[in-house]
């Protein structure tokens, strides 16, 4: 009896220690953001300090940060919306008519380094004077979100029994009607999961935005990176900015936790 109690106690101690490791980095980031510059430069570091929201306030006040958040939001939303519009019908037809070669080519597209896409697009957008526009950012973010959303949705459409469609076809529905009225509602979980993941990918995207955005369209990862170069010593401000930009993906994760891993792996399982 006593032995099993000790065993359980040890087990949960281990679990808690392991679970702290992913969290402690976020916690440290958040706490650094709550400290004044004085407290952040103290040696040894202060564990007890009076928290202040000054850093968060100054991030939003000084650096056009709201605008950058808005830019990230616009780019990610459009990238996901366009991917769904084009990707859903394609995923359905790949799943239903077993066009596996297209599936494989999507997987290969994922292996191509982003920079292979970036060089041509940079040259084109420069010539068209479209650098620092939403068009340039959304187009390049589609390179990530479109194949990804197709991949996930192929899996979801494959799991829909064909009898469901056939029944509706006999009732006189066209393919398009069947698709919109019957299939889309059935796969809504997949649409939600893939949209959220696509949004996170676009939100986190750094390389395309680093080259193709400018003062008008800068997205948050680039803004934070630029922030580093001239605020190197302002740890509180940097940590507050880092906390702010990584919060949306973390919150979104909570809505898709059941399907997230399945979503992230679905592309590679079959290829």
């Amino acid at each position: 009896m006593r032995k099993s109690f000790i065993k359980t106690f040890l087990f949960y101690t281990c679990i808690i220690i392991i679970a702290i490791i992913p969290l402690i980095v976020f916690l440290w980031m958040f706490l650094t953001g709550l400290k004044t510059q004085m407290d952040n430069l103290a040696i040894p570091p202060k564990i007890i300090f009076s928290p202040t929201l000054e850093n968060f306030k100054s991030v939003f006040a000084q650096n056009n940060f709201l605008k950058y958040l808005f830019n990230s939001f616009v780019v990610a939303t459009f990238a996901v919306a366009i991917s769904l519009l084009f990707g859903l019908p394609a995923a359905y037809s790949i799943a239903r008519f077993k066009m596996q070669k297209i599936g494989l080519s999507l997987l290969i597209a994922r292996m191509v380094p982003f920079i292979s896409y970036l060089i041509p697009w940079f040259i084109i957008f420069r010539r068209l004077r479209l650098v620092d526009t939403y068009i340039a950012l959304i187009t390049t973010h589609l390179i990530i979100t479109l194949p990804f959303i197709i991949w996930i949705m192929v899996n979801f459409f494959e799991n829909v029994p064909i009898s469901l469609e056939e029944a509706a076809r006999i009732d006189g529905c066209t393919y398009l009607q069947v698709f919109i009225r019957i299939l889309i509602p059935v796969v809504r979980n997949g649409i939600f999961t893939s949209s959220v993941l696509g949004f996170i990918f676009s939100w986190n995207q750094f390389l395309f935005s680093l080259i193709l955005s400018g003062n008008r369209t800068m997205t948050v990862p680039v803004a934070v990176f630029k922030f580093i170069s001239y605020e190197e010593i302002n740890w509180g401000g940097l940590a507050a900015a880092a906390t702010t930009i990584t919060l949306p993906p973390l919150i979104l994760t909570l809505f898709i936790q059941k399907h997230m891993i399945k979503g992230l792996t679905s592309g590679a399982v079959k290829g």
Binding site: I18, P22, W28, I119, F122, P221, Q257, I261
Partner: protein, 290 residues
């Protein structure tokens, strides 16, 4: 009639997306191959000049290229090795029923979703020589503080640690999901036969989850070989070029020196490496499943 309709639907549903993919994905790749056979300094104002395979030959004798290959190999094997080892061990440990299991799973999703630029920035602060928490902890247990990102010998291990922190959870959760879906019969009969826990894991559990481990390795390898954000934010390839992997080197050729032809040729090399590693892993996996 039915068949023609079916064919038409097949293509009308897929066509818009396929066209878009050709424009945004296939065309740049073709352009990239074309550019790799040219010399072009974007800054010079003159157009690209055809040079055949000269860029590729230059690469072969380029010391900085071989340095970047070395960095890529060290970083990828370190990160992938650490992530698979720790991820699989933790998955085996978590593979039982206990209170709070779903909370644990949620916690491990956070590093995966976190913005890499933010994560890299915070780790760079944690590695700071004077004020970083890591050196403070080292000093607290009586060890000397380390230069981490400024020491050419330590910079790759430091980057690997950050990558392992961020991506071990992915391997852990993929393998754990697979473990939870395994049938219980083989484990029961092993118990009846008197196998120890260690024997059961080694001879029954691990062979059964091997395909899942390989899939996880494939997904991670694609991204680890191409790592950019993490290194660019934490070290910019430094000190000097001690942590410049192939992707960073391509970026520098293209967007620091504006040698687009050279950068394109290097990008083709990087793609070939990612492809080769994945074909290799796919062959191992297919051998295992049949």
């Amino acid at each position: 009639m039915g068949k023609i309709m079916k064919n038409r639907t097949k293509y009308t549903f897929a066509l818009p997306a396929l066209l878009l993919m050709v424009i945004i994905v296939a065309f740049p790749i073709a352009y990239n191959v074309f550019m790799s056979l040219h010399v072009w300094f974007v800054a010079s104002g003159s157009g690209p000049r055809w040079v055949g395979f000269k860029n590729y030959i230059t690469i072969l004798f380029d010391k900085r290229f071989w340095n970047s290959i070395r960095v890529t190999i060290l970083f990828t094997t370190g990160a992938l090795g650490g992530e698979i080892l720790i991820g699989v061990l933790l998955a085996l440990f978590f593979n039982r029923n206990f209170k709070g299991k779903s909370i644990i799973k949620t916690i491990f999703l956070f590093p995966i979703a976190a913005t890499p630029v933010a994560v890299s920035l915070i780790w760079a602060m944690m590695y700071n020589y004077d004020l970083g928490i890591i050196n403070v902890l080292l000093k607290a247990v009586g060890l000397p503080p380390l230069l981490w990102l400024a020491d050419p010998k330590l910079v790759i291990p430091a980057l690997v640690i950050t990558d392992v922190w961020q991506w071990t959870p992915l391997i852990l959760l993929i393998v754990l999901a697979n473990l939870e879906s395994l049938p219980s019969d083989p484990f029961e009969s092993a118990k009846v036969d008197g196998a120890s826990t260690f024997q059961t894991i080694l001879f029954i559990t691990l062979p059964m989850v091997k395909p899942a481990i390989i899939v996880a390795a494939m997904i991670r390898s694609i991204d680890a070989i191409k790592t950019f954000d993490l290194i660019y934010v934490m070290t910019q390839g430094g000190p000097n070029i001690a942590s410049e992997n192939l992707n960073l080197y391509i970026f520098n050729q293209g967007f620091s020196y504006f040698r687009m032809g050279m950068a394109s040729a290097l990008a083709i090399v990087l793609f070939s490496i990612v492809m080769a590693v994945n074909v290799f892993l796919a062959i191992i996996r297919n051998k295992n499943t049949t």
